[in-house]
């Protein structure tokens, strides 16, 4: 059953790509719809496949294609692989359902066909990266994933901002491949084979070097702090269904890599776990702090992906520390927390991106300062966005809370167990982690409040209308998953055989329901049922317009002032005067500029250095004949000298 599902999926995706590419110039809407329905079908097949493999618990082996004796594509899907493939295909199902109507909005016919084609290749490559059992096919599909997502980011290529972010994205993915290749090839040099299996008999320094290079390779792709800069650019530049796929699932493939190599290939040393923990904590904290100052809806969500990836890394870091100290049950708790948060983040982040996509489509802008009051004009999208925000802000009944609770639990229980120095680190980690999740709640109050509540702040927001039912249904699948996996989390874990000391959310949900019914009845019986509509209290001002409302920058201004050292905001102003003596002020403007630390301090200097150095090398060669011969002359002399001395 599983084999033919897997093979059917393996054949269907490339067939879709080829069909869509072949007819890309002529195909009209009907043909494109069939293509998208086929992609939906393929995703469903893989979803069923991964659910079966996950439940059956047996590892599923298959070697569909052999290139040469040493290079072959063999796939092995164990429980971990099935879990990640399940998440990927679930998100892919909802995104492809969403993009049935979303694709119609932007671009020419040919562009839309090419996008559909490359999306199917993109989804297939992600699934096969997770399933691949040897590093050759891992790298093969990893590269296809990067190039396919690069083309998808380039979809709206006439905007200069898209070009910049697409180039930035490609360079970062290629850099991650450099580190990954270094790690994989070093393992190949030691073990002599490509397949992913426990590596034994490695000296610690070499193992640490390999682990570090793999770790850096994966966190570049996952968008962790020092290497995160491509994520906000790529997500705001690419169409929403693609950024939902990218941030919902592609980042998870990198997390899968870390977990696979940490759990199976290497046995972690405690300071590895510490490194992961430190990277995770700072990535989470700075991710949410930068999200707070962001007023572009998709960039805000992108920064939140960085924050949630940080949280997942905290879970994995704790797992590595506990495992190196031999605390088995704590290790499983924190790992399950990390993995469950991966699943949750895939759910609510894709939900948020899809609903954000509908909002951006309806209002035509990404800037939340120009939105407002959309809950009344787009009620269903509003409710879905609310479910997403409640989940991401880790509020109890939903799934975001359960996974963060598990990580909190492993933090709390670790104090009684771990050595003194590490306890201090744990406390600091706990404090920063709590600050992160609280700031996330604040950020999503801002996002939901400014976008959906009160009065529309621009003409476009006023005329926004609800999106098509397909798009709503796509997001609704994810919302239902969020709610379902939140409330029945305890039961799911029990079914899978892990009984964890976490509160039973189903009981809490029940209690909430009972309380709601009793209070509602009490109010219905005792309270007065008359309601009246009048206008908001404005200290006696009669004309009530949207300029009176709180804006997004106003909302986040207190936090910005408290975290000023992080933002290093500098106040910039310029003035023009009528007279030379600068006394008669003509006009001028001022702005608070947040200092882009990473961009100015790390990325641009490196890029400039490479540019200057390569210009120098290039000018070295644009010379005339005499200098050519001079170079050869010097080269021969040097060669003869070294040979004379060496041989």
């Amino acid at each position: 059953m599983q084999t033919n599902l897997f093979l059917a999926g393996l054949i269907l995706y490339p067939a879709i790509t080829i069909a869509a590419l072949a007819t890309s110039s002529k195909a009209k809407m009907f043909f494109r719809q069939t293509i998208l329905w086929l992609i939906l079908l393929a995703n469903l097949m893989f979803l069923v496949f991964s659910v079966i493999t996950f439940i059956s618990g047996r590892t599923f082996y298959i070697t569909p294609y052999q290139l040469t004796a040493s290079l072959q594509f063999d796939f092995a899907v164990d429980r971990l692989g099935a879990f990640f493939m399940g998440t990927t295909s679930l998100v892919a199902v909802s995104v492809s359902c969403y993009s049935l109507r979303y694709v119609e909005h932007s671009g020419t016919d040919a562009g839309k066909n090419v996008m559909a084609a490359i999306t199917s290749l993109f989804i297939l490559s992600m699934l096969l990266v997770i399933a691949s059992a040897n590093t050759f096919s891992f790298l093969f599909w990893w590269e296809i994933m990067s190039i396919a997502s690069f083309f998808l980011v380039m979809h709206e290529r006439d905007k200069s901002e898209t070009r910049k972010s697409a180039l930035f994205y490609l360079i970062m993915t290629q850099m991650s491949t450099v580190f990954l290749m270094f790690g994989f090839l070093a393992i190949y040099a030691v073990t002599g084979s490509f397949n992913i299996q426990p590596v034994s008999g490695i000296s610690l320094p070499l193992a640490s070097a390999i682990f570090l290079s793999l770790f850096i390779g994966f966190i570049i792709k996952a968008g962790v702090m020092p290497f995160h800069k491509w994520l906000p650019y790529a997500h705001s530049a690419s169409p929403s269904n693609i950024s939902a796929l990218m941030s919902g699932v592609m980042i998870k493939v990198a997390i899968y890599g870390i977990v696979r190599y940490l759990m199976i290939v290497f046995s972690p040393v405690w300071w590895w776990g510490l490194i992961i923990l430190v990277f995770g904590t700072f990535s989470a904290l700075l991710g949410v702090i930068y999200a707070l100052k962001e007023h572009d809806l998709k960039k805000l969500l992108a920064y939140h992906s960085i924050e949630n990836i940080g949280i997942i890394l905290i879970g994995i870091g704790l797992y590595a520390i506990f495992r190196s100290y031999g605390l088995q049950d704590l290790a499983t708790l924190s790992l399950l927390g990390g993995l469950f948060h991966t699943f949750n983040h895939a759910m609510f982040k894709s939900l948020l991106f899809l609903t954000a996509g509908s909002v951006v489509n309806a209002t035509g802008t990404r800037n939340i300062e120009e939105m407002g009051g959309l809950l009344k004009t787009m009620p269903y999208t509003g409710v879905l966005f609310l479910v997403g925000s409640v989940a991401i802000a880790a509020l109890p009944p939903l799934n975001g809370f359960v996974s963060e609770l598990m990580i909190f639990q492993s933090f709390l229980q670790s104090f009684t167990v771990v050595g003194p120095l590490l306890k201090i680190v744990m406390f600091a980690g706990l404090a920063l982690f709590a600050l992160t999740s609280a700031l996330a709640a604040a950020c999503f109050v801002k996002a939901f409040g400014i976008v959906f509540l009160a009065m529309p702040r621009s003409e476009a927001a006023r005329k926004a209308t609800e999106v098509s039912p397909y798009m709503l249904f796509g997001s609704a699948i994810l919302a239902v998953c969020c709610i379902f996996s939140g409330i029945f989390s305890y039961q799911i874990f029990m079914a899978l055989g892990y009984n964890l000391a976490i509160p039973d959310m189903m009981l809490i949900g029940l209690l909430l329901l009972i309380a709601l019914i009793t209070v509602w009845l009490a109010v219905r019986v005792f309270a007065n049922r008359k309601t009246r509509i009048s206008e908001t209290w404005g200290c006696g001002l009669t004309s009530q317009n949207s300029r009176m409302e709180y804006t997004a920058s106003g909302f986040s201004e207190p936090i910005l002032t408290i975290f000023r050292p992080v933002y290093r905001t500098n106040k910039w102003s310029e003035r023009w005067f009528f007279d030379a003596g600068n006394s008669l002020f003509k006009n001028g403007h001022a702005a608070i500029r947040t200092f882009k630390l990473f961009e100015e301090k790390i990325y641009l200097p490196v890029a400039r250095f490479v540019q200057r150095f390569s210009l120098y090398v290039a000018n070295l060669q644009d010379v005339d004949l005499d200098t050519y011969i001079l170079y050869s002359f010097i080269a021969i002399i040097v060669l003869v000298l070294t040979m004379g001395w060496l041989v």
Binding site: L625, D626, T627, I629, L630, S632, F633, I636, I637, V640, L641, G644, V647
Partner: protein, 226 residues
């Protein structure tokens, strides 16, 4: 016994003459004198080959000597003079990177360097010190030829530098091991074709493109009828 000492003295004198001509090639400015120096140099190498033939009676040495005289002493200088006449350039004044004195200093250092580095290897092949000395002179002559190429401005002088390099290689082969004669002949033919092509390109550089192409074509028609 005596005649071997006399023989090695004569060869050493000829080496000095060859190095002298190389120095002259580096420094001289007028093209016609350069061509005569080149043919004298080829004569000296032919004489060395002849003397070596007298010493160990290898037939190829005699043939190489005759070939060198025929090609490098007579034919190539004639071709170069005819090309120089049609380009009517008299002198090559500018120097680049190294003034003549600088080049001479560098070539002296080169000779010493090559000797210092390669003595212990080449000794095992060449047997006695005279042959080693000849090989070292050959390699340094090649390096001096290369020196000429990148210090002189005009293409014709660069061609001449290339020819002296080729002479150095020939000298080196005389003392280390003569390649089969057929190979030597092919090398010379190849050298002539290279010189003619380089000359035409040099001619093209100075004149307009049309004149160049029509000259190139006339050359090919001549080539085709043969």
């Amino acid at each position: 016994m005596t005649e071997t000492i006399v023989f090695s003295n004569i060869v050493k004198i000829l080496f000095v003459f060859v190095l002298g001509t190389a120095a002259l090639v580096i420094t001289r400015r007028t093209l016609s004198s350069l061509f005569t120096i080149y043919s004298i140099q080829s004569w000296f190498i032919a004489i060395i080959a002849m003397i070596l033939y007298l010493n160990n009676h290898a037939v190829t040495l005699l043939l190489i000597a005759l070939l060198t005289v025929a090609s490098k002493a007579i034919v190539i200088p004639a071709v170069l003079r005819r090309i120089q006449f049609s380009m009517n350039i008299k002198r090559d004044l500018e120097f680049r990177y190294l003034t003549p004195i600088g080049s001479l200093l560098v070539s002296a250092v080169l000779v010493f360097l090559v000797y210092r580095l390669f003595s212990q290897y080449l000794l095992t092949i060449s047997g006695d010190s005279l042959l080693l000395f000849g090989a070292v002179i050959g390699i340094s002559l090649t390096l001096m030829g290369m020196l000429v190429i990148f210090t002189r401005r005009k293409i014709i002088t660069k061609i001449l530098g290339y020819l002296t390099m080729e002479n150095g290689v020939l000298l080196f082969s005389l003392f280390i091991a003569e390649l089969p004669f057929i190979v030597e002949v092919l090398i010379v033919i190849d050298l002539i074709m290279l010189i003619v092509l380089a000359a035409i390109l040099a001619f093209g550089i100075d004149s307009t493109v049309e004149v160049f192409h029509e000259k190139l074509n006339s050359f090919t028609n001549w080539f085709r009828d043969e």
